[in-house]
């Protein structure tokens, strides 16, 4: 792992790309229909509480990453076991992202190319990123960030400008009451995307600036990201209408296909594919780095070796589902297990940290 300086801005940018990464792939809270924004904000509040927890863990012991913390406060054996659980969780998330990427490429770009080839090429590229380490990933995110955000802005400006976004579809508000909103927000939206930021417990110690500045930056970034995600999600519903949007496999793609300006700006699908690839790729690399760091720290394996091992495992795991429907179904099933790694374990960790007292340094 290269020991280069990581600035706060780089970590923060990686966080933003990470969150936007695969969230725009799906429609959040389809059951809430036009009240999806309320569900998103409610889940964002929950995510905010989680972020407070993660930041508290970080503040308590800023120099140790997740695995070192687990080993320090839970002892060698239980700590390593818990660390392995996290490693497996990160690797599984990575394999899901890889499969998502492969599916998108298959559906919109390369219909006849075998999935194996697409996934293989992707994992080769990602392995190369992972072996360079987290600081390099952050710098890459910094470079890619303006283009990604610019693409989003262009797409949404075009949608608004062409009148495709019908604001009146926001009404009637709270038509079906609070129940569908709460059902949609917890645990689904809370886990994905907000709960996945538990990964960043591995990355926080890499930042060489002060811990307090990082905390403030993270909270501001979280608020901005949550608002952005809510807006992006709501635009899809306002453009397509809740009925059509809920039935789409790739709602943002359908939305983007509506753009038709002059005779030139049509079929902006490729913008969509670009944004998704970048986002999913970032998420994929981040999760793989998280898992590889785990193997490296817990078992003392060479980092290069553990990154190749993790990526190979992720590649293999991405073939778990034989078809698209099964892949989506499994995603819904595993949501029930996520609160363990995202909420329960960090809470326990923090509690033990408090009990065992101040051990900074």
């Amino acid at each position: 792992m290269n020991s280069r300086q990581t600035r706060i801005s780089e970590l923060v940018v990686c966080y933003i790309l990470f969150e936007i990464g695969s969230t725009t792939l799906f429609l959040m809270a389809p059951e809430a229909r036009q009240d999806a924004w309320i569900a998103m904000l409610a889940a964002a509040f929950g995510g905010f509480l989680l972020l407070i927890l993660y930041m508290a863990i970080y503040r308590f012991d800023p120099s140790r990453d997740l695995y070192a913390l687990l080993r320090r406060y839970w002892g060698k054996w239980i700590g390593s076991a818990a660390g392995l659980v996290f490693t497996g969780y990160f690797a599984y998330e990575a394999s899901r992202n890889l499969r998502d990427l492969g599916e998108i490429a298959s559906v919109i770009l390369l219909q006849r190319t075998p999935l194996f080839i697409i996934l293989f090429i992707t994992i080769l590229v990602v392995t190369n990123t992972v072996r360079s380490g987290a600081p390099v990933l952050f710098k890459f995110c910094l470079a890619i960030f303006p283009m990604t955000l610019g693409s989003f802005l262009i797409l949404y400006l075009l949608l608004f400008g062409l009148g495709e976004v019908r604001i009146e579809r926001m009404l009637p508000v709270l038509e079906s009451g609070w129940k569908p909103i709460i059902d949609a927000a917890f645990p689904e939206i809370l886990s994905f995307p907000f709960g996945q930021t538990v990964l960043f417990l591995v990355f926080f110690p890499l930042v060489t600036n002060s811990a307090r500045k990082l905390k403030k930056s993270m909270f501001i970034t979280f608020a901005a990201t949550a608002l952005m995600l809510t807006l992006f999600n709501q635009i899809i519903i306002l453009a397509l209408g809740p009925g059509i949007a809920a039935n789409c496999t790739l709602p943002l793609l359908q939305t983007v296909q509506l753009i038709e300006l002059g005779d030139v700006f049509e079929r902006m699908d490729i913008f969509f594919a670009l944004i998704l690839f970048i986002g999913l790729g970032t998420k994929l690399a981040a999760f793989c780095i998280g898992a590889a760091t785990g193997l490296h720290r817990l078992f003392g394996l060479n980092y290069l070796f553990s990154s190749v091992l993790v990526c190979a495992a992720v590649f293999g795991a991405s073939f778990l589902s034989p078809n698209y429907t099964h892949h989506i179904w499994m995603g819904k099933q595993v949501l029930n297990w996520y609160p363990i790694t995202q909420i329960a374990l960090p809470v326990l960790l923090y509690v033990v940290m408090l009990i065992r007292g101040q051990r900074a340094g």
């Binding site: 770009l109 390369l110 009404l171 209408g241 079929r267």
Partner: protein, 414 residues
């Protein structure tokens, strides 16, 4: 040197990989479709494709004819199948190129297919990655394949021309809405469940000789044509099935009620004039129609408020437009005329019991609780709605003359 080779190596590999193996699509293997025609009879779908012939496109601008080349710019194929996609893939038996629908501008639907129901068509467009949902829809009385074979004079590619006709018409005339597949789909998912699609038919001479003439390049060598493709009416759909037709004035009225009018022209009879042929022409430049549901005891009333601004283009009336009085009389008569058009439209949708102006959605948004009650028997409730139309017209400009010529001359004589 070895370092240079090591750096160049990935680029060379990329060149091999990026060319694409399985998914390459050469341009001369594609048959780019400019328009699709959908017909249905006895459980079989008959799909027609207006494929662009590259050699016919040649040189020459978009307005010019094809004097330079003797090839037609498009060619029409038709295939049959039990589903639309099956029919499309049967084209492999006849056409040497692979059909490419990404540049299709128009989809023409035959009347029988429209009456059978278009949910299959919409489902296909939504599910397919390549087929754009932004294609313009039109219905025709005869078969769609017959319409695809006809040229629109002055334009090279008929599919593109029909698309432009419908778009420009909506912007400048407002009689018919420009309905894309996605608008149709949105209508299916809406509370009103009713949508409308403009109708295109051949007007003028409709015999075989006229059709043959309009199907060949010879039409570009003539100065006029006895028959042409025209928008003639509005097909009304309920739940994706065609249930009836509105004539142009009724359709214009519905456009007013749905806030679909942007710019238009109305010919208004002169107020208080004994001459039945005296008209004024008023160009509408800016319109905003607001429809608000109002609760009156247990009935709903839709308040339609239209704010119209425009310019006087010509007038035969005995009005003194230099005085406020005259202009007010004129704008009053225009208001009455427009309200009459709206009434005509409203009566027509009442007759067909089709909620084209989308009143259901408006009630749903403003009174969600009442909507829950009304939802069940909306088809009974809808015709019982009362519509209160209030139009406000401002004649902003009157052109380069003051008084109408007739008025001015009659004064001189006396």
């Amino acid at each position: 040197m070895p370092r240079f080779i090591a750096l160049m190596f990935p680029f060379v590999i990329c060149c091999f990989i990026l060319a694409g193996c399985w998914d390459r699509r050469e341009l001369n293997e594609l048959g780019i479709t400019s328009a699709t025609g959908i017909d249905w009879s006895d459980g079989k779908w008959r799909i027609s494709y207006q494929v662009i012939v590259p050699s016919g496109m040649g040189s020459g601008d978009s307005g010019g004819g094809s004097g330079s080349s003797s090839h037609s710019t498009v060619h029409v194929f038709s295939t049959e199948g039990s589903t639309i996609r099956e029919a499309a893939s049967k084209s492999n038996l006849e056409i040497p190129r692979q059909l490419y629908f990404a540049h299709t501008d128009t989809v023409i639907i035959g009347k029988k297919a429209a009456e059978h129901g278009l949910s299959e068509v919409v489902e296909l467009y939504l599910r397919s990655v390549e087929a754009r949902e932004t294609v313009m829809m039109a219905v025709t009385e005869e078969s769609a394949s017959a319409v695809l074979k006809l040229f629109v004079p002055m334009e090279k590619v008929p599919g593109d021309a029909l698309n432009k006709i419908m778009l420009k018409q909506k912007e400048n005339f407002g009689y018919y809405p420009a309905v894309r597949v996605v608008d149709f789909a949105r209508g299916l998912y809406s509370d009103s469940r009713a949508t409308s699609v403009p109708e295109i038919n051949l007007k003028g001479k409709r015999d075989n000789k006229a059709r043959k003439e309009l199907s060949s390049l010879d039409i570009f060598k003539k100065t006029f044509s006895g028959s042409k493709l025209t928008l003639t009416g509005l097909s009304v759909f309920k739940d994706a099935r065609r249930v009836g037709r509105l004539d142009p004035i009724e359709s214009f009225g519905v456009s007013w009620l749905s806030d679909n009018v942007r710019r238009s022209i109305v010919a208004v009879p002169c107020p208080g004039d004994s001459d039945p042929n005296a008209y004024s022409t008023f160009r509408i430049e800016k319109v905003k129609t607001k429809v608000t549901p109002q609760k009156k005891q247990d009935r709903f009333q839709m308040l339609v408020q239209a704010d119209v601004r425009g310019e006087l283009l010509e007038s035969e009336c005995k009005l003194d437009l230099t005085k406020n009085e005259g202009v007010r009389k004129l704008s009053d008569s225009i208001e009455q005329h427009i309200e009459g058009i709206m009434e005509t439209g409203w009566k027509a949708v009442q007759r067909l019991n089709a909620d084209l102006p989308g009143f259901a959605d408006k009630i749903h948004r403003k009174y969600p609780m009442e909507w829950k009650r009304l939802k069940e028997n909306w088809s009974e409730q809808f015709p019982k709605l009362a519509v209160d139309t209030r139009v406000r017209v401002s004649v902003i400009r009157i052109g380069l003359s003051h008084k109408p010529l007739k008025q001015d001359r009659s004064n001189v004589k006396g």
